[in-house]
């Protein structure tokens, strides 16, 4: 009998098992290393090593890598679009307020957290619209001047604020006992889920002015928000429905036995549990919404991607396509990746709480 080989130290054994278990594995591993090498080396070179960081104009980009000077020069545009420079403090103030509110509310031991959350939800959205668009003492800024990351966040958050409650109502409607309400909800959900979002944005921008009474003007940006919100509400409804279906029937039956009515059961028993279960799925829908805000480009609203696209037409910065795309893409990627990691964390917490 052959003597057993002496055991390898821990990390070496792991390495061997996960990279070099069989000859095929060895070949695959080396191929992977080669591929990574071939891709990442020129990439790092272009992004960092050979890149130009300092300067103010195109002439300052002398080395072969990326011209980040371009991003520096147009950074404010990427953030605010054509928002008038003297009024940009309003965007900053709103952002600061929103971040503070979110930070305070995510602190679990905040006194009167529930009331504070409701207050924030009631106060902040109208305050935001007032700050951004002006009126009542502030100078008016037309929505056509909004743009960049500001606009992307505005679209995602305000469409989400409409879509989440609407989606919850639709999900409840779809499970309603009443055939008429169930039917209407199903038609609404399946219709918006069945058509491309780009056509919905087209539709909203063309039809909303048409179906409103004469003289009643729907703002161009509002049309896009409404269009996006309807589609996302339909997808949200399906996410919430998953949560509703996961709830055992006994919960509702027990509440009925206690003599509670439909709305009280829904508000006190069903939704708190169902929404917690549906939270990861709803977060994923929100990520989808965030990505789909880019589609407003089709009706000439310049969100972050639109500003990147428009920047390519600047004669002073010809050929900066890659820089513009990499910068905008990186922002989208970090935002969506962060959200999806948060969603995964929620899922894990949920599994821990329910022991599944």
């Amino acid at each position: 009998m052959k003597a057993a080989r002496p055991p390898l130290p821990g990390w070496l054994a792991t390495l061997r098992q996960r990279l070099f278990a069989t000859p095929v594995d060895v070949a695959v591993s080396f191929l992977c290393v080669y591929v990574v090498w071939r891709i990442s080396l020129p990439l790092v070179d272009w992004l960092l090593v050979e890149a130009n960081w300092r300067g103010t104009s195109r002439e300052d980009c002398t080395s072969a890598g990326a011209c980040w000077v371009f991003i520096r020069a147009r950074f404010a545009q990427f953030m605010y679009g054509q928002y008038p420079v003297p009024e940009r403090w309003r965007v900053d103030l709103l952002g600061a307020l929103a971040v503070c509110a979110a930070a305070a509310l995510s602190w679990r031991r905040l006194p009167r957290r529930r009331e504070a959350a409701i207050a924030a939800l009631v106060i902040l959205p109208p305050l935001g619209i007032w700050l951004l668009s002006g009126g009542l003492g502030l100078g008016i800024v037309e929505t056509r001047e909004w743009g960049g990351l500001t606009l992307t966040l505005f679209l995602a958050i305000y469409a989400g604020l409409i879509a989440i409650p609407l989606g919850i109502l639709l999900a409840l409607g779809r499970r309603s006992r009443l055939p008429m309400i169930r039917f209407a909800s199903i038609v609404f959900i399946e219709f918006w889920r069945g058509v491309p979002i780009i056509t919905v944005i087209f539709l909203a921008s063309l039809l909303l002015p048409l179906i409103m009474p004469t003289g009643f003007n729907v703002d161009r940006l509002a049309r896009a928000v409404i269009g996006l919100a309807f589609v996302i509400a339909a997808y949200m409804a399906e996410a919430v429905r998953g949560g509703l279906q996961a709830l055992p029937d006994g919960q509702v039956e027990a509440a009925q036995a206690l003599g509670l009515g439909y709305w009280r059961i829904t508000r006190l028993i069903v939704l708190p549990q169902a929404l917690r279960i549906a939270l990861p799925a709803m977060t994923n829908e929100f990520i989808a919404l965030f990505k789909n805000t880019t589609l407003v480009l089709i009706v000439s609203i310049f969100d972050l991607l639109g500003i990147a696209q428009a920047a390519l037409a600047d004669p002073a910065w010809v050929g900066m396509n890659m820089e513009a795309y990499v910068f905008a893409g990186a922002i989208y990627w970090f935002a969506c990746f962060g959200l999806s990691q948060w969603s995964r964390l929620q899922e894990k917490r949920l599994q821990a709480a329910y022991g599944r």
């Binding site: 996960r18 990279l19 278990a21 594995d25 695959v28 591993s29 992977c32 290393v33 591929v35 990574v36 006992r177 009443l178 055939p179 008429m180 309400i181 209407a184 219709f191 889920r193 069945g194 058509v195 491309p196 979002i197 780009i198 056509t199 087209f202 539709l203 063309l206 039809l207 002015p209 048409l210 179906i211 409103m212 009474p213 004469t214 990520i287 990505k291 789909n292 880019t294 589609l295 480009l297 089709i298 991607l305 696209q309 390519l312 396509n321 890659m322 795309y325 905008a328 893409g329 989208y332 990627w333 969506c336 990746f337 999806s340």
Partner: protein, 386 residues
């Protein structure tokens, strides 16, 4: 107290609520429709579907339907539909291939391979599709060389900033024969598989159906196509002056949309494949091994049959998403339904309501057809397994 009882009665309340909802909906719809007809009369917009038979006068740079600007708007719509189907079909095939490959790589026990797959998946899933469409179109394809300095693929296909030139067969007779042969081979394979299964049930004798199938449905069709290709004369694109002539050109819009759709959707398909395979319980695999099945057979006879029913429904909805997402071609003026019909034809005729209704109707029909297929598949599968 009868009054209180009356409106506390569940049935009465149900009817009342539904009546209220119906009336509310009807009022809203009537309000919108009346406004719309008022506004249309004021703006002098015609209504009805007669415009479909008018001459379109719209140029479509990329079509395989033989459409000319002197054709009707209906023909224009048909060209858009064909272009949508063309790019979707091509992207579905490639997205499936990449998606399965990456999904399986993600499951590899080789840490490097599975990490590479994870990086790919996380990269494409967390960036908007429109970004990729614009990136391919303005970032990659517009940076390609001019026709004079095209990338040359074996002297028959050429890639430059005006598109991808591929050769076109001058006549199709050879390919018709090849197609007939392939159909015959597939029929033969189906017959053979049935016979082998029946024999195995009767006598227990095994037959290498898969190996034979690989030859019959994989190698021989390729050979048939190769023979047909060799026997046919080809119209190979050649450089004349500043541009290529002959052959068939896939415009950059097509290439960009195709690349974006296939690589983006592949990331989602990869996750579906991974989930499907992981849903097969380890016990099933262990049991199959304990029965002495070879690793290949474990995968073929135990893992795949149980994973596919989990994979197919979500993959179908990914295909549906891909078809809907092909509408992003409008952003780079690829002449698909939204671009030619909701864009050009709408501007030319001004008949927004009719055009929107037709466009949405087309997508809804495609969606209904796909979900009908999904229901049929699910029903059929349930019958087979239980």
């Amino acid at each position: 107290m009868p009054v209180i009882r009356f409106w506390r009665d569940r049935k009465v309340r149900d009817v009342l609520w539904q009546a209220l909802a119906t009336v509310g909906l009807v009022v809203v719809v009537v309000f919108f429709v009346r406004n719309a007809s008022d506004n249309m009369v004021k703006a002098g917009i015609a209504s009805g579907f007669q415009f479909l038979w008018r001459d379109s006068g719209i140029e479509v740079p990329f079509n395989i339907t033989g459409y000319k600007p002197s054709d009707t708007i209906l023909a224009l719509l048909w060209t858009g539909i064909v272009n949508t189907i063309l790019v979707s079909a091509a992207a579905v095939v490639v997205a499936t291939v990449i998606g399965f490959t990456v999904g399986l790589m993600r499951l590899s026990h080789n840490w490097l391979l599975s990490t590479l797959a994870a990086v790919y998946i996380e990269f494409v899933r967390n960036i908007p599709l429109l970004f990729f469409v614009l990136f391919w179109y303005f970032g990659v394809l517009s940076a390609l060389p001019t026709p004079k300095e095209s990338y040359d693929f074996l002297g028959v296909a050429f890639l430059n900033r005006r598109g991808l030139w591929i050769p076109l067969p001058n006549e199709v007779t050879g390919f018709q024969f090849a197609l007939l042969a392939i159909v015959a081979l597939i029929v033969a394979q189906i017959g053979l598989a049935r016979w082998a299964k029946a024999r195995q049930a009767r006598t227990g004798q095994d037959f290498p159906t898969w190996m034979v199938g690989f030859v019959l449905c994989g190698l021989l069709p390729i050979a048939a196509l190769a023979v047909a290709g060799a026997a046919t004369s080809w119209d190979v694109p050649t450089l004349r002056g500043f541009n290529y002539r002959g052959g068939f050109v896939l415009v950059p819009e097509f290439v960009a949309l195709f690349m974006a759709l296939s690589t983006y959707t592949a990331g989602f398909i990869a996750e579906v494949v991974r989930g499907g395979i992981q849903s097969v319980r380890q016990g099933q695999i262990d049991a199959a091994r304990a029965l002495g099945l070879t690793p290949g057979r474990v995968v073929r006879l135990v893992v795949i049959p149980q994973a596919m029913p989990v994979i197919i429904p979500p993959i179908t909805s990914q295909y549906l998403n891909l078809i809907k997402n092909s509408s992003l071609g409008a952003a780079i003026a690829y002449p698909e339904i939204v671009a030619v019909f909701m864009g050009s034809a709408l501007v030319a005729t001004g008949q927004a309501i009719e055009i929107i209704a037709i466009t949405l109707g087309i997508y809804l029909t495609i969606g209904l057809a796909v979900s009908a297929f999904m229901n049929w598949y699910n029903a059929r599968h349930r019958l087979v397994t239980r």
